[in-house]
Symmetry: D2
Subunit: 433 residues, 4 copies
């Protein structure tokens, strides 16, 4: 019985989650995380495609600088990642794809679990659950503040189910453990590798929608915004600010002028727009005309057209701000998410399949979230080939919003989510049902 | 005797000044002023070159729009300007050159008097001298607030002296009554006509330096800043601000971004810089994305190089601000002044020649003024051909600065200035001395 | 028969419209327009409340300056407006309310027609219909570019119908001919006078929605944005830009900084926002640090809360921009519109009543327009007292959008609109039908 | 003989310089540098006042954060700084004062040598002299790029001379080895301790003016600008940029608006002004409304009044930018330099005293440098009490400007500078001359 399976797995889910939470890794540097997942799935009998085999290296976006990658690779070795595994991932090629082919005729079902953490300094406050129970992040300024430790755990749970129940299942299962979801940087590289090209059904989801209690799920999520992420680098000429200010070409002023004008991109008649300059770093010293500046920018739109409108305006502003101050500007796209429409036919199915779950108490047809997710690239690829995809939400009370230093979720949601996926597997691919 | 001449002329000087003050005309629209000067000098026997004969039409800068010129031409007719004179000036070709050739061998001496007024609304306060004595400006928003009514009067006084004393003088005299000094727009067109090409000695000056009392003059003025004046026109696309803001191309934002960045042009190691956006008009209605904007700009520099540096930066900023908001930008140069160095040899001469004047009590070698004057173009042309030029200051107490709605000067300064010029004429070109 | 009535009235509708179009008047200066309407309705037997009797003087917003009002009052006299009528309107108290009480028991039905024009210079292009047919605006920079000449005409048509058919009607009719709809300035003053306090049914509408052909109408318009309009006046200190820039307090820089930051007010999660700086005028002359500046601003929001959020942010930015440049800021609210929800019960009724109209071919339940309209204040007042209100759209092909110098509409829409109102009157208040 | 003394000292000067260069320390963290200087002077017999005894703790400006100080204190221990010495300096109280009293009646002569390095990453290029000769900085992002390693070396040379020649000298010598000259942060704290209060003659100087060859010195330096340095911290509220932008209070926009407006502070009639935002750091992540921002600012003026004008304007702009975006602003003054006029009487004396130096080939009376130096605070204190102070320049060819990653100077200048100070000591305080 499912119920028993999840209940029995429950202690291990908690253990996995906490262990992952304690060692968070940023996008494209999930060396240890990938290794842990891989070793677990290898033992279960999955066919694995790790790192460079899981994604198209050239299609990654926003890869961290070489020096940072190297530092983390060394750390991975210290933490016991085998050299052969590391070789497979070296240079920021993290994540893996696990495949189970039942050998029986049936659908190809895909699942995606994202595994990366955020550059946030986790709170050590004793009231913060992970701190109190000693699984708080051991890394300064890195934290699982978006629940991807939970997502990875759910993926491991689903894998265990498949491996232990494959006799009762038909068709083929592809589990994508995706790196670098934050910033919309990793999905593109997995899509480019072709994993989604013949997927019939595709399911993914997120834990932590705060308006839903544990036990309530949403079968689809309209409202994702298309987005583009950029890094902009301005390069000018430094000069002594007291003696020869006229010799400088001020990269700081280019950036500040761009920032002020980016927020002024006109609203759009056809729907929601967003723009943010999330980070700006300029200059080297007080008495030096700033030679360099750097900005992290994102624009979003409710439709593809609006997102393109925003991107075109942003690019124009950045270039003109550079021209204005006679500096150069390099604009690097570092992330991309798309607008996506969940397949409506899956809603009644999920509702039906979960009806007997002990963990899923209620299935809402859809709950709107106006964020962005690069799973949209995967879903759109599936739809393009005639497959059906949806993105679900798994309710849990949240005392603080996502991306907050004391973000935490109720661990019971892990059981609900695993049981949702199991219900879907049984409902869609189970031989006996 | 000089003294008697000036004393006797004194009532007429006052009369001329007040009459000119009451009917001020803006640059290139001094139709009535030019006519009045011309009729006076014609009667004295000067050879006149009026309007189109006095300046090079193509070399004028910042000429008012056709419709405005037409309005003033009609008014000139109403005020009694003869049609033949108006024909000579039609289309903003004002000002005149008056020549007296003694027929005797001697130097060619040039004088320049500027005749235009400012777009300022003169105060009607009863404590304001022109208001109290009923010669306040009859024109709304036009005022002789820089003393050019005085300069014109001085020129008439000098002309009277020459005409009545030519028997005692040698050489040739050229009096330039220049239009459109404000904004540095008129000198260029007179220079282009060649009037300065063979001038041996050139004198001009300004009344109203507030640190000097009546009777004190300065023989030279270092410190003029080179300057360039621009009008910038941004043209975008209007749109309903509520319904389709995304369809607009915002000419107001281009102008405001340009304005903010213009003031940020870096200071210069080699000397004084200035920048000002003196006027900005944008948009047509509250709920319309602004389609048009217009700015009046000037930049200045202590040297030619600095002025060019400022102009290059300003132009770059204007163009980039337009690009940033996807609008077009037309930059029209509308004024120009140069750096100039007064000829030092003239300082002791003026001092010597004025020693016996009853009106000139003290001659200072030089007083620095950090303004800009397009007489600089004339002086530089004279210097280029080996002539000698200087620009003088005539002291008078000022209760309010130049360009102020209650600007006024002590009328005694007119006598001092006329006697300075007479002393120079006698000293430099007099047969008996 | 209705049909015959409208058909017979048709030449007069055209005549009224063209006559009104030729003599457009800006908000609170509709002296001649009000007089013309009044004389027409007086002859029909309506009870009139003109000017100061029609609106609450103190509740008007954005009243033009005294001098401008005076100029237009003089012109009104020249155009033949009777002195007694002018006295009633003097000081910008335009518009009128016309009442017809049938004496029979029945509902109190209100209609609103707005009568003001826009500060736009109408095209004289011979392809522009009003120019071709010689009823183009005789006023420079004033134009009926939003169809209020049509609205006024429709009101006159409706009044004729009531006056000629009152025997067949029951209840009471109040026709509000509202001044100063542009800028959301006039409705508030009519509401404050109490005209809407006991209205049972309230109908208004707009001609010219471009997606609907002539003959198609919409029975309701969701989507109006709440808005607030401001004028902001910055007052600094002028100074010579070359000589003493440090003595100036730059009102232009305060305005440009405010403008750039106003457009940066963050988007809102809960709905649509808008912000526009529609006009900015600063400074007096090129070489003077600008002492004064002036901005026309509006903010909008999809809900009252969002509109208040926008207004709070805007006010804060304006004040801080003034502080930044050490100038003062006066913020004057000059317009207000509200969010409004059309009463849904009226949709099937209008549809039913218009079913037999020869002019109304199709009734759409609703068409969304994301503009702002101060009729919202009237409708909300009606709803507050339990009445029912809606705002309709009357389709016509438009070759150019509203507020455009060649805006024009198909005059057939006037017949459609009049017949819509007649159908409503007959349906709702007719004794025989 | 002097000549022999300097020649013999020369290898040690080179050794000291290179050793100091290899281990640069930033302002208020010169723990090892101070210790090295101290041990050397202690051995020579100077009376020492170290760290907390050398400066007034409360009067320091721009002290680094506690955590950074701690890190460097630990490193100092690792490098062998004795605990008792470290205790004396703990918490950023670096630098020392060394006194030699000859016991003979005579003047009190003060010398100042600054000892801190800059946050610049030294080039490892093999053509860079320190790299080639293996004394390049061992610290990432810390470099002696302004020659203070040379200044410290010169101070050690001067101390050696005094200690070995005290029999021939009269009066008292105070050597101030000042921390944190960069940013104008350290002099104030030494002045506050009273060291300059009874100094009769005060000498300091800088190596590396590029227009002078080795062997040429300037006896005085007019043109120092008064300056104030600030750090500004903006604190807002973060929010998810996609989901709830309206909940954020954007500290980045406050900083960028401030930056753009700071550069717009008007030029000043009375003299040179400067303003620079040398560093700006804002925000934490791309999709988060920035909660924090930080700016490093400096303003300068040719006179005290102009510097105060600039500081007042800057403070106003920062506060208003914070208000505009509803964030808080903390403005921390972190540095101060004054305008200073070198005592002219010292120029002929220095010229005379150096006449017989084998190293000083030429003494120029003065060379203008328009930078800022906090030695100005010391000199002004000396002048206030009737003493005489000057600041000299020691020529050396520079292939790259100060503050450049490949900055280097000709080591021969060290000999010239030491011999200049020796000449001054002998000339001013020598018993035998």
């Amino acid at each position: 019985m499912t119920c028993n399976f999840v209940k029995e797995l429950s202690p291990r889910l908690i253990e996995w989650r906490r262990s992952l939470h304690a060692l968070p890794e940023l996008g494209f540097m999930e060396y240890i995380t990938t290794y842990r997942i891989g070793k677990e799935l290898e033992a279960l009998g999955f066919k694995l495609f790790v790192g460079r085999d899981a994604l198209d290296e050239e299609s990654r976006m926003g890869v961290p600088p070489e020096s940072e990658l190297k530092t983390h690779e060394l750390k991975a070795l210290e933490w016991g990642v085998e050299v052969s595994w590391l070789e497979q991932m070296r240079g920021g090629n993290t994540g893996l794809v696990a495949i189970w082919d039942t050998g029986k005729k049936g659908d190809h079902v895909g699942f995606r679990f994202d595994i990366d953490a955020l550059p946030i300094n986790e709170s050590l406050d004793s009231k913060h659950f992970p701190a109190k129970h000693q699984f708080v992040s051991r890394e300064q300024n890195v934290m699982h503040a978006c629940g991807h430790d939970g997502h990875t755990t759910i993926g491991l749970g689903v894998a265990h189910y498949i491996a232990t129940h494959h006799d009762h299942l038909a068709g083929r299962f592809t589990l994508l453990f995706q790196p670098a979801e934050e910033g919309g940087r990793g999905a593109r590289a997995m899509v480019a590798k072709g994993w989604l090209d013949d997927v019939d059904y595709f399911y993914s989801g997120h834990i932590g929608i705060q308006t839903l209690p544990v036990g309530t799920i949403a079968a689809s999520t309209p409202g994702f915004l298309a987005s583009t992420k950029y890094n902009a680098y301005f390069k000018g000429v430094s000069s002594h600010a007291g003696i020869n200010p006229e010799l400088g070409k001020n990269a700081l002023l280019a950036a500040t002028t761009a920032a002020n004008n980016l927020y002024s991109i006109p609203r759009h008649h056809d729907g929601v727009t967003r723009v943010n300059v999330g980070r700006l770093v300029a200059g080297s010293g007080r008495n030096i005309i700033p030679e360099d500046s750097y900005m992290e920018i994102e624009v979003r739109g409710e439709t593809v057209e609006i997102a393109e409108y925003m991107a075109e305006k942003a690019t124009r502003i950045l270039q003109a701000a550079a021209d204005m101050h006679d500096v150069t500007c390099t604009i690097e796209p570092v992330g991309l998410t798309e607008v996506v429409v969940c397949n409506e036919e899956l809603i009644p199915k999920i509702t039906e399949w979960c009806a007997e779950s002990e963990y899923v108490k209620e299935v809402l047809p859809s709950v709107t979230v106006s964020g962005s997710e690069d799973v949209s690239l995967m879903m759109n690829r599936v739809h393009k080939h005639g497959g059906k995809a949806t993105y679900m939400l798994f309710g849990t009370k949240l005392d603080h919003p996502h991306h907050h230093p004391v973000f935490d979720f109720q661990e019971e949601v892990l059981l609900v989510a695993v049981d949702t996926f199991i219900s879907i597997i049984k409902g869609g691919s189970g031989l006996i049902d």
